[in-house]
């Protein structure tokens, strides 16, 4: 099986503090991979490194065989790797539809065009309608993004990541702050929109993780201490000691 993404001895320091301390990770093409770890372990920082928001101090990030370490975010998205953010990161004063339009413009080849009006582009309209339908936001298409409810904003956040057409997605706590039924709905949504894609997702809810993940990696204090199937991770002593502890009973 080929790997979509490979991290090789990846390190990141902020000043004297090393936050990512030599991460090695393989993401197989087409798998759903969960990244778990305690608060402050460096999960979001790792996503920032992969997606180009910040440059690593050392190490390699191989995406489809190419080293993308230190490349700007736009180039990485165009190569086919996109992400969502832990803290909702949308275009608040624009309509939901316009948010999604921005996200599909590059992949449909319109880019910085000034020769057509966006609402008259049939491919953009069709693609956005499909996305709105998938995300359950059709009714909200013409409302501004900041008027959405929290779960709706999270759906839009997810939508922006998916809409770019990337085959590999990094989702950073897509259901953080949701209640039980909202989480369940969000999980179904994620399963639906990421079908056939490679997924790396940070999540704290063990129930969600054991339900959706093919494999799980555990990041503790800037290092991956274990990678394996849910069963393997559940049985792993080091993981239990370092992280799962009481959470295992909760999940069971």
């Amino acid at each position: 099986m080929t790997n979509a993404l490979e991290l090789r001895d990846l390190k990141k320091s902020f000043g004297p503090v090393e936050i990512i301390r030599g991460v090695n990770l393989d993401l197989r093409a087409g798998e759903r991979h969960a990244l778990i770890g305690p608060n402050g372990a460096g999960k979001s920082t790792l996503f920032h490194l992969i997606s180009g928001r910040i440059a690593p101090t050392s190490g390699q990030i191989l995406f489809q065989g190419q080293n993308i370490a230190g490349k700007p975010p736009a180039e990485i998205v165009r190569a086919g790797l996109s992400r969502s953010f832990q803290i909702t990161n949308i275009f608040p004063q624009m309509s939901v539809l316009d948010n999604l339009r921005c996200a599909v413009l590059w992949k449909l080849g319109h880019r910085y065009s000034i020769f057509r009006q966006t609402p008259t582009l049939p491919d953009v309209a069709i693609e956005c309608e499909r996305l709105l339908d998938q995300l359950g936001l059709t009714r909200r298409a013409h409302d501004t993004a900041d008027s959405l409810t929290y779960p709706e904003q999270r759906a839009l956040e997810l939508g922006l990541a998916v809409a770019s057409g990337a085959n590999t997605l990094l989702l950073d706590e897509p259901m953080a702050g949701m209640n039980h039924s909202e989480t369940e709905a969000a999980l179904q949504l994620i399963m639906k929109v990421t079908e056939g894609k490679t997924l790396l997702m940070v999540e704290h809810d063990m129930g969600v993780i054991f339900e959706m993940a093919d494999r799980i990696s555990v990041l503790v204090y800037g290092q991956i201490i274990a990678t394996g199937t849910p069963q393997e991770i559940r049985a792993n002593r080091a993981v239990q000691e370092a992280y799962l502890g009481t959470t295992e009973e909760e999940a069971a």
Binding site: N89, M94, R111, L160
Partner: protein, 426 residues
């Protein structure tokens, strides 16, 4: 596959009609205005307002659309004007015939090229760095002007004769109204282009940069590229406006691209309203008229400028266009009649405050700066005297009373609106 829920044919035909309405109204206005105000000085005023309206529209590409505060937009107004001026001088010298109405295209194109260069320098980041770099560039160009008197002229600037290029389109460009025609047509062209631009993919991306510049990088775009393109487009249209100003006044001076011009366009755009496409036009008209008329009748006109600016910032950040929209929404809400008495009282209190403030300001100017003109002064038809307690008292009572009445009146309006909306839902 249909695109039904978003844009049915019926709906788009309908929206196309409503979208065309303002444009038809504006075209009609542009035709009617010179017939209503046909005196030479009035046409000249209209020309000035039209020029400023184009200039303000161009500025809003940056301020309202892309969320960029440029402190040096006057540069491109001035540069466009100088390019147009030199184009006319050179063509006249070479004996070339060139239709005068197309001169602004040259000024605009020149400004576009310079705008790409300036944008490349300024648009690495938004916010404060952008504002500072644009200010620096403007100062640089302004200071450089002193080094090239052959390009920018000296103190008196560079004069042209707009009739020198000969007649075209059945006009010889002597009468002011010929220039009005040119400005009106260019206004429609520029407003049309900028409106179209706002609907294109790049136009949408400028809004995205305004809202959240970082995020578009994660959608495949470069925020820097978007800023640069917006900057260049705004510069081009400002260049057209500057060229029109040169045609109108038949002279271009370095002052046209100084700090005062940069500030004026910012004030016009912000006061008019950055959130509506035509807001800046409204601002250009109101501020332009204030500048022309108030500066004639009051030494304190800059002060009124400042007060209007503060008023808009405090009362309605969406500007005069926002206030207008609020008014339209009120009229449509069906509760306008119920609110009318309260609104009239508020209007009265506002009027009192305004009159009182004007009296106080005029008295203060006469007592201070203009003391040599004597203590007697007529303000709004009232004979006042800077030495009389009665005059000062009148101003103070009106202004103070108006302000004191305002708060409780606004509270009662709130209560009234609340009960009205309750009644609606019940």
């Amino acid at each position: 596959m249909s695109v039904s829920t978003l844009d049915t044919p019926a709906r788009s035909a309908n929206t196309r009609l409503t979208a065309a309405l303002p444009w038809l109204a504006i075209t009609a206005m542009l035709v009617i205005l010179p017939l209503l105000f046909s005196s030479n000085s009035m046409i000249s005023t209209l020309n000035y307002l039209g020029t400023m309206a184009i200039f303000a529209l161009s500025y809003n590409v940056l301020l309202g659309q892309t969320g960029l505060l440029s402190l040096g937009h006057g540069t491109f107004f001035g540069l466009g004007g100088f390019i147009a001026t030199h184009a006319i001088l050179h063509m006249a010298e070479a004996g070339l015939s060139f239709p005068l109405p197309l001169i602004p295209a040259i000024g605009g194109f020149g400004a576009l090229i310079l705008g790409v260069f300036g944008g490349w320098l300024a648009s690495g980041r938004g916010g404060m760095p952008f504002a500072m770099i644009t200010l620096g560039l403007a100062e640089l160009v302004y200071a450089a002007a002193a080094l090239f008197p052959s390009i920018y002229g000296s103190e008196e600037g560079i004069a042209i004769d707009r009739m020198e290029l000969g007649a075209s389109f059945g006009m010889d460009y002597g009468p002011t109204v010929d220039i009005y025609v040119i400005i009106a047509v260019w206004f429609l062209i520029c407003a049309g282009i900028l409106y179209y631009f706002s609907k294109t993919p790049l136009g949408l991306l400028t809004n995205a940069v305004r809202d959240n510049a970082e995020r578009i990088e994660f959608l495949g775009f470069s925020a820097r590229r978007v800023r640069m393109l917006a900057y260049a487009i705004a510069a081009a249209v400002a260049g057209v406006a500057g060229s029109l100003a040169a045609l109108n006044f038949e002279i271009m001076t370095v002052n046209e691209m100084g700090a005062a011009t940069c500030m004026l366009v910012l004030l016009m755009t912000y006061i008019g309203g950055t959130k509506h496409f035509f807001g800046p036009v409204l601002g250009a008209i109101v501020i332009g008229l204030m500048k022309i008329w108030l500066s004639d009748i009051s030494p304190a006109w800059m002060m009124y400028f400042g007060l209007l600016f503060i008023f808009v910032v405090m009362v309605q950040p969406a500007g005069l266009a926002g206030i207008l929209m609020d008014g339209i929404a009120l009229a449509r809400s069906g509760t306008a009649a119920a609110q009318a008495p309260m609104l009239a009282l508020i209007g009265l209190a506002g009027l009192m405050t305004l009159i009182g403030t004007i009296i106080l300001i005029e008295l203060a100017y006469r007592a201070g700066l203009d003391a040599p003109l004597g203590p007697e002064i007529t303000v709004l038809g009232l004979p006042l005297n800077t030495g009389s307690v009665l005059s000062w008292g009148l101003g103070a009572v009106l202004a103070g009373g108006g302000i004191a009445a305002m708060r409780p009146l606004l509270d009662r309006l709130d209560t009234l609106r609340h009960t009205l909306s309750q009644g609606e839902t019940a």
